[in-house]
């Protein structure tokens, strides 16, 4: 094979598998830098857990970007949905409802608010014929401002005593209990740094479940195929008899629903909603993860698993930088460089 041919196949390889290679390199570097601490189940779980909400957003963003759209309002949808849901939950608890019913209904309000905000985005894009960048830029400003107005820019503390935060922090223990030699109950399984049973949090489970379903939708379902077709060439999709508007609307509505879910995950983990801080610049992290994962910003091609790896890469970078005592002010610069590098490496025949 000629030198040019070899270059082309290296290019193709990087385009397809570069993101996994980068992940492996970073993982190796982290393990080398931090020794066994990094690869401990506790640390890995913590990393996954703290990135789960961003991960849910990034997965939704993948579908929107595949349809040749973009959603800049996800961070603001997160905070608006969480603020409305938590306020509703507090209201019900204050009115003497049971904690279980209040938490459940509050969660529904959060999800519903996200879905509604996403549907507004979708309507603006589809029926209002506003460019997605502009329509959701409006959402970025408006939804955050509504959340700030609800709480006077302050914090909404959850009135749920235990159940709400259990949703955010609880999980399934990675081990089991068994009878000890003297009949006492002994825990066998993974432990955290403090020697307590390690749990797979609900957040992680939700993130992975959302990713698996989204990858299935993208590669196996009619909706997924239509998203790809609309993103690749909207006119040709219309000529092929696809209801282009309805496909695009559903992408934004689904994004809103997932933003609500991410809002629920984050507010329950904090057991409160900081209307000025929650979800702030989440849209950038989500878009970055999608791009690192190899999805084309032009639409028409995407992969959810790439996005998941992208989320983990971003998480690991933060982790390494923090442990290496790099000032948080510099972390943005490193992340920015990684994003640009990812695009450079993956830019190939598709562009």
């Amino acid at each position: 094979m000629s030198a040019a041919g070899r270059m082309a196949s290296v290019q193709r390889f990087l385009e397809h598998w570069g993101v996994l290679l980068a992940f492996a390199l970073l993982f190796g570097a982290s393990a080398w830098r931090q020794g066994g601490d990094f690869v401990s189940p506790d640390n890995l779980r913590t990393m996954l857990n703290s990135n789960a909400a961003i991960g849910v957003l990034a997965v939704g963003m993948t579908l929107v970007i595949v349809s040749a759209g973009i959603d800049l309002s996800v961070g603001s949808m997160v905070v608006l949905a969480a603020a409305l849901g938590t306020t509703a939950m507090n209201g019900m608890i204050g009115a003497g409802w049971s904690e279980g019913a209040s938490v459940a209904l509050g969660a529904c309000v959060t999800l519903g608010a996200g879905l509604a905000a996403g549907s507004v985005n979708g309507s603006l894009v589809v029926f209002g014929r506003i460019a997605p960048f502009i329509a959701t830029l409006g959402g970025l400003a408006a939804y955050r401002s509504m959340a700030l107005a609800i709480a006077d820019a302050g914090e909404i503390r959850s009135q749920s005593s235990t159940l709400f935060s259990k949703l955010g922090r609880g999980g399934i223990p990675l081990g089991w209990e068994k009878a000890g030699p003297e009949g006492e109950v002994v825990y066998a399984g993974l432990l955290n740094a403090a020697g307590k049973p390690l749990t797979l949090t609900y957040s992680i489970i939700i993130f992975l479940a959302v990713a698996v379903v989204a990858q299935w939708v993208l590669s196996m379902s009619r909706f997924g195929r239509h998203l790809v077709a609309v993103g690749a060439n909207e006119t040709a999709a219309r000529y092929a008899g696809i209801a282009v508007g309805w496909v695009r609307f559903r992408a934004y509505a689904l994004m809103g629903l997932l933003a609500g879910l991410a809002g629920l995950m984050q507010s329950s983990r904090m057991n409160s909603v900081s209307t000025s801080g929650l979800g702030l610049s989440n849209e950038l992290d989500a878009i970055a993860a999608v791009v690192i994962g190899g999805t084309s910003l032009r639409g028409g091609f995407g992969r959810v698993w790439g996005t998941v790896v992208g989320v983990l890469i971003l998480g690991m970078i933060t982790n390494i930088l923090t442990i290496s005592n790099v000032s948080p002010y510099w972390q943005g610069a490193v992340k920015g460089a990684v994003i640009v590098l990812a695009v450079l490496v993956q830019r190939g025949s598709r562009d």
């Binding site: 000629s2 041919g5 379902s221 239509h226 690749a232 060439n233 999709a237 000529y239 028409g300 091609f301």
Partner: protein
């Protein structure tokens, strides 16, 4: 001086004494993973000569042109410009060396005007090089267009130009870069009959100025009419060359005159019979589709056509006659007016999916922009309009096996060259892509099929297959409307031909008249505003 053609590759025209070789390919080989697209092809292109390169889809014409114009680097072999070996790393290198390609897809900046497009990248400057000298820019554009015999207004925006006008601007752009060799890839494919004639005249004019013109076309009549030399590629190899003397027919190495049929058989490597299938008869009396005073708002009006099951109705007309717009209005892609009846029931469709639900399909003429998703796989392209037929799990999950089977069936049926249907369809040659345009709509099993330019960019062999399939489906009860700029195709395939002009029907040729020797002229007269006998209508 009449040179006796001593061997195939030496067969040379005698137009300008000993013609200067401007561009040459020497044993150019291009290999893609698993495919040898070009196999040691040597060809030269001389000043003052129109050199046509012909071949079936996938024969390697496009690859050769990409090598010559710097878009693809050969695996081995050389490109020489005026004798000097050149390795083009990108198209810009070729343009600087004087080799310019006039692309099938036009590359004008829509928002800029004609003059700006022509001088794009080499704007005449004034004011310390900071400002563009608009006056010189416009004057230069006028001069170049004048060379081409076009009086186009240089202040018009490119987006307002017709395809033919845009093509002239594109050629003027090449002249502006001082191109000595101009490569035309299917330049007449997007043009109507009259515009195509004008373009061929332009090729002659460029040749007479001493430029080398490389001409790629599937229209062998055009090739036979204008080419001084014809080289035939088959499966990546140069198989034959024909040349002509001044005002003489093309001849082969033995000196025998060569006609279109001979070129065609050299392309496919066998003798071709008639490519038109037997015409069947209508299988039912009640029309499957009926237009009464129908039209696309603002574009066409008063169109009345009825097509019965089993019938193939051709629609002729110049570009801009409202043919395509009327078809688009039928399936709801444009606002319609007048009456549309499907199987006797009045209908008005909101879009192609509604039309398809009623059994009406429209295959667009614009393969890359509308007809196909070039970045998606051949499989996805085949099943996109009929995806609902390839699902399981309550319609949620796409049944990959059913999709693959459907694709394999059409690949077989149309003899499509497509080794790996899971790859993007852009990896196929234009003709094979065109077959998929038809396949995706036939897969949707329509009762009325409207095909717009079904054989654009398709070679002779593939054309025959497409005609055969359309005719076979018609015999099975499909009502078919064929819109085409190729009159032999309409005459050979259709039961009758409706001619459109200026947005409405100018006349109709019934079946018995399609057999006449002069039916082609009759259609042209109707399309250009005369009556059938040639009097101003």
């Amino acid at each position: 001086m009449e040179l006796p053609p001593s061997s195939i590759s030496d067969a040379a025209p005698v137009r300008a004494g000993i013609p200067r070789i401007l561009l040459a390919a020497e044993r150019v080989t291009v290999e893609y993973p698993g495919v040898r697209a070009l196999d040691a092809v040597s060809l030269d292109f001389r000043a003052g000569e129109i050199h046509a390169v012909v071949g079936e889809n996938g024969a390697g014409k496009s690859t050769l042109m990409k090598v010559l114009s710097g878009a693809v680097r050969p695996t081995s072999g050389l490109v020489r410009v005026e004798g000097a070996a050149r390795a083009f790393a990108r198209p810009l290198d070729a343009i600087r060396a004087g080799v310019a390609m006039v692309h099938q897809e036009l590359n004008l900046v829509p928002a800029l005007d004609v003059a700006e497009n022509i001088s794009l990248g080499r704007e005449p400057a004034r004011g310390l090089g900071l400002l563009v000298d608009r006056r010189r820019q416009a004057a230069r554009a006028k001069e170049l267009l004048g060379l081409l015999g076009s009086g186009l207004d240089v202040s018009r925006a490119a987006r307002d130009l017709s395809v033919a006008e845009a093509q002239f601007v594109e050629i003027a752009k090449c002249l502006a870069s001082d191109a000595k060799v101009l490569i035309f890839d299917e330049p007449t494919a997007v043009l109507g009959e009259r515009e195509a004639d004008r373009l061929l005249g332009l090729l002659r004019r460029l040749r007479d100025e001493g430029r080398a013109v490389v001409f790629i076309s599937h229209h062998l009549d055009e090739v036979a009419a204008v080419a001084d030399r014809v080289s035939v590629l088959r499966d990546g190899r140069l198989v034959q060359s024909f040349a002509r003397g001044l005002d003489e027919p093309l001849r082969d190495a033995t000196g025998a005159a060569v006609d279109e049929a001979r070129i065609a058989s050299a392309m496919v490597g066998r003798e071709l019979g008639s490519i038109y299938p037997e015409k069947g008869a209508a299988v039912a009396d009640a029309p499957a589709i009926e237009l009464i005073g129908f039209g696309a708002r603002g574009r066409s009006r008063g169109v009345s056509i009825a097509v019965r099951p089993g019938e193939i109705v051709g629609i002729a007309g110049l570009v801009g006659s409202g043919r395509t717009e009327t078809a688009e209005a039928i399936v709801g892609l444009r606002e319609a007016e007048g009456v549309l009846r499907i199987a006797g029931r009045e209908a008005r469709f909101a879009g192609p999916s509604a039309a398809m639900a009623a059994g009406v399909a429209y295959a667009s003429e614009d393969r890359k922009g509308r007809g196909l998703h070039v970045t998606l796989s051949s499989v996805a392209n085949t099943t996109l309009p009929s995806l609902g037929r390839h699902v399981s799990l309550l319609g949620l999950r796409i049944d990959a096996r059913s999709e693959a089977a459907a694709t394999a069936r059409w690949v077989r049926e149309f003899s499509i060259r497509c080794a790996r249907p899971e790859l993007p369809i852009s990896s196929l040659s234009g003709g094979n892509q065109q077959k998929f345009v038809l396949a995706r709509w036939l897969e949707a099993a329509p009762r009325v099929l409207i095909v717009d330019e079904p054989t654009r960019g398709v070679d002779v062999g593939a054309k025959g297959e497409i005609y055969r399939i359309i005719a076979a489906l018609a015999r099975g009860g499909l009502a078919c409307v064929v819109i085409s700029s190729e009159l032999p195709e309409l005459i050979g395939l259709a039961h009758r031909v409706v001619v459109m002009r200026g947005g409405t029907v100018a006349g109709e040729l019934p079946r018995e008249k399609l057999g006449c020797a002069d039916c082609e002229e009759r259609i042209v007269r109707l399309a250009s505003g005369l009556d059938e006998e040639g009097r101003a209508a």
